[in-house]
């Protein structure tokens, strides 16, 4: 039972079921399962077991462009298989009805959706998810084909309505008769303009410790490829990194490849991808680069860190202002990308090795040689106890926080004229809930009371505590311990001395506790009740007393305990402070790993069907994206 998908349901933004596809047995219907699924609290895991449904089912869910995809299974199924399948369904649907996937597009093309869903999964067994193979059996929707013709979506050249092109039909039947030679590429591809595009997208995720040191920096990359080229081309894509090919092999960690990539070639020559591409757009490979490799067995912190360039760094300082209710976020932007100081064009310089016209210009808006930093947004998660944030003063850009939301967003424009680099700050004041205010007062009252009764004894200690709390955490820990020791040392010494003396002076009486012990008395000057007065009638009295005046607690008894720290406003506000901040941005034309496309060649010997002398247009695009990826702790 490796994969048994009972049903696939798609819901639109308003949670109306728009596609209901049952593959096998009789699972709960789409309207029946949705409330059960939604009953689970908000961040829903991708696998939910719903024993309350009839029959009990496991529900797998994927949310993509506001559509909710649910797959149901009655038996134990490999969850990753189902999730992968759902993602493929999304991809294929986008391929056929056009991206982004919208409920209206699906509804307008039900017959295509129906055919696709029937082809992709047969009675619960996933069988065919290659977009190219599906294009051979399912016609592209007509009007969409027309609409997207200009965009050049694959299949746009196929005839609109159901008169199958004779040539295509014969090809298909030939392929069908003997099985597909290349399962991922459809046969008989024709394009009038031959184009090849490589997009390398790296998503950066960096964690910075409160001290400012980098904890981890990982960049996960994806190579997206668009092949619109006739016949059966055999391509060779060479990648390179700043340190050369050998470094690249080590740098590109944990690669995964589209099945079309010849793995043997990669193993022999890391950085060389040899493949026959599917027609259209696909993900060629994925990899990751650890920008900050640390040996797990190290005992000492690494002495030298690899220097890491980050276009945007965020810093946060908390508990500022008189009551400690302010915090300040500093954003440091840096557009001096290493290697781009002058106007040299590395991409163009190297691409001459290609067989055809070297047009290795980055597409899109970042096509100039200098990388462009865009969409800079700082996100600060705000604790739930914060009622509102007032006084948001940003030196650049605009900050937004709506009460009740969980994060503050600060957009910093980068399209202004002038330099982008530099520092921007945002200062905010937090306001807690009323509840906290009440508590604060009460606590303060109580504190004052306690303080009054306590006298001077522990005053210094409590101040020290308060101080220690507000200082930086790292330091705090050490200080705290010292404080504890110091404050305790006297009391402990007294107690210990008493005990020692007790046992030493009167060996007959081994009890360490002697209420008559002068030292103990001395150490508790303000104690209203002597420790134990065997004859005293006081205990019941004091009990009734304290019951009467319960709010004013008798002082916390004795010197061997630490006294309660004063809960100042600062401390209370400290609980309202954010604990981290992260920045999102995108950079066109720069990759953290420094990986570049060295060349993209068509092997003329192995390729077929591409006319003589046809030189396809080639384009490369590098984009670095950080989705709340650079995170600063505090």
């Amino acid at each position: 039972m490796s994969g048994q998908i009972d049903a696939l349901y798609i819901y639109d933004e308003q949670s109306n079921p728009i596609v209901e596809q049952v593959y096998r047995s009789r699972p709960p219907s789409a309207p029946a399962i949705l409330p059960l699924y939604l009953a689970h609290a908000a961040p829903r895991p991708s696998l939910l077991y719903i024993p309350g449904a009839t029959p009990p089912v496991t529900v797998f869910s994927v949310v993509q462009s506001n559509l909710l995809f649910l797959a149901l299974s009655e038996v134990d199924t490999e969850p990753l298989l189902v999730l992968e399948f759902l993602h493929r369904v999304v991809d294929v649907l986008e391929d056929f009805v056009g991206a982004p996937l919208l409920s209206s597009k699906l509804q307008a093309n039900y017959e295509v959706v129906a055919q696709l869903l029937h082809e992709m999964c047969d009675a619960g067994i996933v069988c065919n998810t290659e977009p190219n193979a599906l294009q051979e059996v399912v016609e592209m929707p007509g009007w969409m084909g027309k609409l997207l013709g200009g965009v050049g979506l694959p299949g746009s050249s196929t005839p609109i309505l159901g008169q199958p092109n004779a040539l295509k039909q014969s090809m298909a039947s030939a392929a069908a008769a003997q099985g597909p030679a290349i399962p991922w590429r459809k046969s008989g591809v024709r394009h009038t303009s031959n184009e090849l595009y490589v997009d390398i997208i790296e998503s950066l995720s960096v964690t910075i410790a409160p001290s400012g040191r980098l904890l981890s920096a990982i960049s996960s990359g994806t190579i997206a490829f668009t092949a619109k080229i006739s016949g059966v081309p055999d391509l060779l894509l060479s990648l390179t990194a700043p340190g050369g090919q050998k470094v690249l092999g080590r740098k590109m960690d944990l690669p995964v490849f589209h099945p079309c990539v010849r793995l043997a070639r990669w193993r022999e020559h890391p950085g060389e991808l040899s493949f026959v591409p599917p027609d259209g757009r696909f993900i060629l490979a994925g990899y990751e680069v650890d920008l900050l490799p640390i040996d797990p067995g190290l005992d000492q912190p690494p002495s030298h860190m690899e220097k890491l360039f980050l276009p945007a760094i965020v810093d946060i300082r908390r508990s500022l202002g008189p009551t400690g209710s302010d915090f300040e976020v500093r954003l440091i932007l840096n557009t001096n990308f290493p290697g781009y100081s002058s106007f040299n064009r590395p991409g163009v310089g190297r691409s001459g090795s290609g067989t055809s016209t070297p047009s290795f210009l980055g597409g899109g808006s970042g096509n100039s040689s200098t990388p462009a930093l865009e969409e800079v947004v700082v996100t600060v998660p705000i604790p739930k106890s914060v009622r509102n944030i007032t006084d948001m003063q940003a030196s650049r850009g605009e900050a937004l926080f709506s009460p009740g939301s969980t994060s503050l967003e600060w957009r910093v424009p980068t399209k202004d004229a002038g330099t982008i680099s530099g520092t921007a700050t945002l200062r905010c004041t937090v306001v807690g809930h009323y509840l906290d205010d009440d508590l604060e007062e009460e606590v303060e009252e109580l504190d004052a009371d306690a303080n009054l009764l306590q006298g001077y004894y522990d005053a210094t200690n409590s101040y020290q505590n308060a101080e220690a709390d507000t200082t930086k955490r790292k330091v705090k820990k050490k200080k705290k311990k010292k404080v504890v020791k110091k404050s305790s040392s006297r009391a402990a010494a007294a107690a210990a001395a008493a005990a020692a003396e007790g046992s030493a002076s009167s060996p007959a009486d081994p009890l360490p506790l002697t209420s008559e012990d002068p030292e103990l008395h001395a150490s508790e000057p303000q104690l209203p009740i002597p420790p134990i007065q065997p004859s005293s009638p006081q205990p019941p009295q004091s009990q009734s007393q304290s019951q009467k005046q319960s709010p004013t607690r008798p002082p916390p008894e004795s010197s061997i305990f630490l006294t309660a720290p004063r809960k100042t406003k600062t401390q209370l506000n400290a609980t309202l402070m954010p604990t981290s901040a992260s920045v999102s941005f995108s950079v066109r034309g720069w990759l953290p790993s420094g990986i570049k496309v060295e060349s993209l060649n068509i092997d003329p010997r192995r390729s077929r069907g591409l006319g003589e002398g046809v030189k396809p247009y080639k384009g490369v695009k590098y984009i670095c994206v950080s989705r709340k990826g650079v995170e600063r702790r505090c």
Binding site: V75, E78, T222, F257, R553, E557
Partner: protein, 814 residues
């Protein structure tokens, strides 16, 4: 791997997307409403369906399908649609088939009318049409046709086109569900399909095998090597099911063998380092010997580690974890961790699998520790698992990384989310527990938290601190003293109660260092203002202190102390007014030299408790009083109060899932799935006993020479050859475009429709008749043959099988 849709959305800015969305929404609204208004009337659609023009019929079918998916009534068109089932147009046919499969159950009689036409399509020239017909026919859920479907599958198995054979393989489970009595025939078809040379067909055949008869591993022996060989070339979905099959197969057919001294040739030279781990026997010189066939499978699996499909990666990991040696597993750890790059939904499941593997082999994950750092954006179900992985790998890291992990945990223990705080504090506790050398550091981190203003954090920290102290009480006396000092700081009832309890546990140390009595004295002063939980602990502390006191100073003379407590009991049963007198009484008693302070303190405490408002507290006080009533007989009290406490061990949260199969849904659902896991969940069988396994020679078969010849080619070479073949075939096919007749179709070419229709029916009738008598005997014969082939071994194996299963289910129940 990222999906193309996610990458595209990354590339395009949000504004572009919304713009297009709005545009297309507007456009489609216009068109769809137009469509509705224009001609959605039933009669119009009927007219379209009845038209002779293919184009109009297609239009009509589209509308019907749209209605069907909108869950609007589309059943009224059934007869009109069925008429078109014989349409020559492939597009129309596809839609009619979809409609049929959807509605056949509601209209079984009408659906049967279409069977003939579908049967006719089974002999269509176009292999696609044949495959589709087969798929549709098996999809019609009307049990009456099971024999016809079975026959169609039989025909499909011998088809020239792999597409049709694939459809036949996929139809097998459907036919089985239609009528389980067809199983013997279906198994026959499966044997044929499992021997198919096309990887394209093999995958679905394996899936069907797993669905229909997963226990018949005797069918696999012959095909084992070809399955392993084709594994790399299969598509990802086939790889998943084949890996599953082979993993189960390997457990049942390859006994775990170890060899003394000499290392097997196939093993790497660093094998000996890992041996103690892999060998439960613990004999250092024993080396695991892999069966060459198993080794072949493992080596092939290694090639799949760069697959883009996460399910394949997890399947390989499962294969290595349960079948392979640690080196193989090491190679798979990286790709497993790489799944964290995928979308969040996949991440979640991947993390469960990572935890399951890390519970058994945490070491290799240390390399990827930085992948498990929690991000502020992670939802609870993700960070929970990440924290667990961090604690699992903690003891295997270097000091630097340990420091990083601890400060991570410390950071999150100060977050505002109470759940996160609890989990991270517990995680610190688990770190301390798993690595005693860092326990002190963890403890100091936790003690630092106690002064926090966050009550939740304080009480959680204290609970964990208590656990840590209990693990090694003697070395923590100082810690307790330090904790006691915090009594003045924290108002959290749980925290206070925990500290008081801890003091009680240390009440027995030597008098010179004993602070318990003193603490008790101080706590008693403010007894009335404590919360109930703390009061209970104070009384317990009092009882312990008093008991220790009694133990240390046994009453010198037996008679004198006896009456005293009795008297006290009597006093306390009197009413309040008398109490003062009694107090006076007590005073007098205290004047007596033998009445020591401890006793007084205890009595005072009991008095306080007696007038407490909580009956529970009063009851407890009464209990302790009775226990300690007689200073001379403390045995019972000793047993009750000073019993050694079991050392608490906080297991990793996923410890309960440790034995669940990696890659299954049950692993993710966990205990909620019930004792036996989700329906259909099956754990791996135990290793076959040595000597009980099937004869390895069964796996050698006539395919051998071909295998040897083909295996010398690399995948690339094969691809090139296939390319050439493809080219040439395209050329020939375009040349003979019209003259070409599908081989499957040629047999039926000469027959007329009626002949054809009659024939299979009579055939099937005959067959069913004869088969009804024969099936049993036939089947028995077949199995008999096989059994004689395998010479009793299979027999034994089946027995052990069932026993194993019984055992495993028994274990699960336990």
């Amino acid at each position: 791997m990222e999906t193309i849709s996610r990458i595209s959305s990354m590339l395009e800015t949000a504004r572009e997307l919304t713009l297009e969305a709005a545009q297309s929404a507007a456009m489609s609204r216009g068109s769809s409403t137009g469509l509705m208004n224009r001609n959605l009337t039933t009669s119009h659609i009927k007219k379209l369906l009845d038209s002779r023009n293919d184009r109009e019929v297609l239009d009509g079918m589209r509308r019907v399908i749209t209605l069907m998916y909108r869950s609007e009534p589309s059943l009224p068109f059934f007869s009109a649609v069925v008429k078109n089932v014989a349409s020559a147009n492939l597009e129309v046919k596809k839609l009619v088939y979809i409609y049929l499969v959807h509605h056949a159950e509601a209209e079984p009689d009408l659906a049967l009318l279409s069977i003939n036409a579908i049967q006719k399509s089974l002999t269509d020239q176009n292999p696609h049409a044949r495959a589709m017909a087969l798929r549709t026919m098996s999809g019609i859920r009307v049990p009456v046709i099971s024999q016809i479907v079975s026959l169609a599958i039989k025909r499909g198995c011998g088809d020239m086109s792999p597409h049709v054979r694939k459809a036949a393989a996929l139809a097998i489970p459907k036919c089985y569900r239609l009528d389980p009595n067809t199983l013997p025939q279906l198994i026959g078809y499966l044997t044929t399909l499992l021997g198919d040379t096309q990887y394209f067909v093999l995958g679905p055949a394996v899936a069907a095998f797993l669905d229909v008869c997963p226990d018949r591993i005797d069918l696999i022996h012959k095909h084992y090597r070809s399955l392993v060989k084709k594994l790399v070339d299969m598509d990802e979905w086939s790889q998943i099911s084949t890996l599953r099959l082979l993993t189960f197969y390997a457990r049942q057919c390859f006994p775990r063998k170890t060899q003394k001294g000499k290392q097997a040739v196939s093993e790497g030279f660093y094998e000996d380092e890992k041996v103690p781990e892999s060998n439960s026997d613990g004999n250092g010189d024993e080396v695991l010997v892999l069966d060459p066939d198993l080794e072949f499978l493992l080596r092939t699996c290694k090639l799949l580690l760069q697959n883009r499909n996460s399910a394949v990666i997890v399947s390989v990991v499962r294969c290595f974890l349960y079948l392979g040696t640690p080196e193989y597993l090491d190679a798979a750890i990286g790709p497993l961790v790489a799944l964290l790059r995928s979308p969040q939904d996949t991440q979640h499941v991947a993390l469960y699998n990572i935890v399951a593997v890390a519970l058994k082999h945490p070491k290799p994950f240390t390399r990827y520790a930085n992948h498990f750092l929690v991000h502020a954006v992670d939802p609870p179900h993700i960070w929970r698992l990440k924290l667990e992985v961090l604690t699992l790998i903690f003891p295997h890291c270097g000091l630097h990384l340990k420091g990083v992990i601890l400060s991570e945990l410390e950071h999150f223990s100060q977050s505002t989310d109470p759940d996160l705080v609890r989990e991270s504090v517990r995680a610190i506790g688990r770190c301390a527990q798993s690595d005693p050398s860092t326990a002190d550091h963890c403890l100091s981190v936790l003690l630092g938290q106690i002064t926090s203003l966050d009550d939740n954090l304080v009480s959680e920290s204290l609970t964990v601190v208590r656990h840590l102290i209990q693990q090694d009480p003697p070395s923590h006396e100082k810690t307790v003293i330090q904790l006691v000092k915090h009594l003045g700081l924290t108002k959290n009832a749980d925290a206070r109660a925990t500290i008081v309890w801890l003091v009680g546990e240390f009440a027995g140390v030597e008098p010179e260092r004993n602070i318990a009595a003193d603490i008790l004295r101080i706590l008693v002063q403010d007894f009335a203002n404590e919360s109930e939980a703390v009061k209970q602990q104070i009384i317990l502390l009092g009882a312990k202190v008093y008991l220790h006191h009694l133990l240390r100073n046994p009453p010198k003379e037996a008679p004198p102390p006896e009456p005293k407590p009795e008297r006290i009991v009597n006093e306390w049963t009197e009413n309040e007014e008398e109490r003062k007198e009694e107090a006076g009484d007590e005073e007098k008693q205290s004047d007596e030299p033998e009445e020591d302070r401890m006793t007084l303190l205890w009595r005072y405490l009991l008095l306080l408790a007696r007038y407490d408002s909580s009956y529970d507290l009063r009851d407890r006080a009464r209990l302790y009083k009775a226990l300690l009533a007689s200073p001379s007989s403390t045995q019972l009290a000793n047993l009750l109060l000073l019993a050694p406490k079991p050392v608490p061990h906080a297991p990793s949260p996923s410890e309960t899932r440790k034995d669940l199969l990696v890659g299954s849904s049950t692993l993710v659902v966990g205990p909620d799935a019930g004792m036996l896991g989700l329906k259909g969940y099956q754990n791996l069988p135990d290793w076959a006993e040595s000597g009980q396994e099937p004869d390895p020679r069964l796996r050698e078969n006539e395919i051998r020479p071909e295998f040897a010849e083909k295996s010398s080619m690399t995948a690339g070479e094969r691809l090139d050859r296939a390319l050439k073949e493809h080219e040439s075939s395209v050329a020939t096919s375009s040349r003979h475009q019209n003259g070409r007749v599908g081989v499957g179709g040629s047999s039926s070419k000469g027959k007329s429709l009626d002949e054809w229709l009659e024939e299979p029916e009579t055939e099937s009738e005959e067959e069913t008749e004869t088969e009804e008598e024969e099936t049993d005997s036939e089947y028995e014969e077949v199995t008999d043959d096989e059994e004689t082939d395998e010479e009793e071994e299979t027999d034994e194996e089946y027995e052990t099988d069932s026993e194993e299963q019984a055992q495993s289910t028994g274990l699960l129940r336990q």
